[in-house]
Amino acid sequence: MTASPQSVAPAGPPSGARPGTGRPQSLLARERRFGYLLIAPLIIVLLLITAYPLGYNIWNSFHHVDYLLPPLGSFAGLSNYSKLFTDHEFLPALVHTLGFTAVSVTVETVIGLSLALALNKPFRGRGIVRAAIFIPWAVPTVVSAELWRTMFDPQQGFVNFILTKLHLPLASTTWLDSTWTAWAAILIADAWRNTPFVAIVLLAGLQVIPSDIYEAARIDGANAWQQFRRLTLPLLKPALMVALIFRTLQSFLIFDVVYIMTGGGPGTSTNVLAYLNYHAFFYLFDYGYGGAVSVALVVVALVIATAYRRVFRTDEVMA
């Protein structure tokens, strides 16, 4: 891709040298060259920080690049990849990640949709309410993670405090110290921050639906549920797909919240793929194995990006 500006460059000077005969063509060529010049810095930077690391990861994944076990660089064949299926780390992390993605995306979509429907109705003070609800999305993930770590802390937390006051069970739970309660805490921290994103995207989708079709439906005797099922949902589909695909990818790559709240623990019971990958690089110093995990993550991301493109192509056909 970086070659394209250069490949055009030779075509420029000859046509530019004969301004009399090839004028329109030379103008076009010059304009093109200018365009490539403008886009080149962006493409170069993005290739440097995506394609180059990807290539490096692929190379590493087929070699022994374990900084704790030199020599580095001998050919490893598929051993780094076969390790993914035999090391008792990757597969559990994969299962955790898939489970978390399914649950978090479902929860966030359901709540986000109801939020968007509520915020789509006109009422006094809507702007303030909307801002209040969007603030959790805008703050850094570190904030959401630290904030919910405080909330769930047995000493400082609100959760155990209120459970005790109301004489409810689980009041003496140390939430982050056992598997299922730790997952619940992670899920809540993640949903608290990301549900507003789903709501923002769905609200934008709702606002482009013309209101007169509801008028027509009402005259035809459709009740509220029928209007939602037959009008809102189908027309909201593009926005719904955007929210679903973005959230699926982000959930699949969850890192910050797990790093801060549980560190993958207790044991490795909340380990997820991104955390496993970070661990491979910065604790095990095994860049071959880490490279294999990275490559696997890129493949998944590419699949999701392709799905996204396909959805939008079909929408363009419909529109």
Binding site: I39, L42, L46, P53, V129, N277, Y278, L297, A301
Partner: protein
Amino acid sequence: MTAATEVAVRPRRRIAKAASPWQVARRTGFFALLAIFVIVSLFPFYWIVITSLKTPLEISAGTTSLLPGHITFSNYIDDFTQQDFIRPLLNSVLVAGCTMIVTVLLGALAGYALSRTSIRGKAMFFGFLLVANFFPVIAMVGPLFIVYRRLGLLDTYPGLIIADLIYTLPLATFLMSSYFSQIPRSLEEAAMVDGSTRLQTLRKIIVPVAMPGVFTTAILAFMLTWNDFLLALSFMTNPARYTAPVAIVSLGQSQYQTFYNLIDAAVVIISVPIALLVLFAQRRIVSGLTAGSFR
């Protein structure tokens, strides 16, 4: 005229009164639901604010009340003096600010090329931007760490800024190209006829008209970079170069206790600018975000 409005309004009022028990219930339910959403969104902030105002003694004693006890700002003072939190804060501002500037610059140039020039392979460029937008950041971290160490870019601002561009550049380019394509072509052609060069036209005609797009892009770029944790965690190994999010995680940890008062004071500090940004530029942020994600 008043009579006419009377007539128009009266029947509607009567209907509202007839249906009132059901409608009142629905309205109450609706506002109760909204109230729950608002409380769930904002209550955790209240909680960290009161935790950040507690004395270390109160922290050791545990939570006994929903209300703050002795309000003290000593944690904020501690964060800035003993914990030296001002440094990571400045690092964050510097990194996010520089990333924002580079993003607007590169994004505007590329967005212009994609929307206003007749370069070939636009679909391919947009496809690549989409893939870059979906690229897992964790997959950059290992190789870039090795390369940065070799090039001496670890613990440097440029190193982190270059990596941070992954968060901002694809979105910025989508946004800028859609802003540029809304500007009427005739405006540009008139300037060209007057003999200005392409770059002059861009600077004098296009950029001023595209200023709202530039603002939106800048705000989003700043927010996205301000939020980064993973890249700073990976490439800033020297505490003097930590950004605020990384510093918070290592703040207030001792072997025996987590000092939530110190952590939460810092959490409040880094949330306030973002909360203000959302309150004042909500419309811009939301429109930028949705325009970017619908590309």
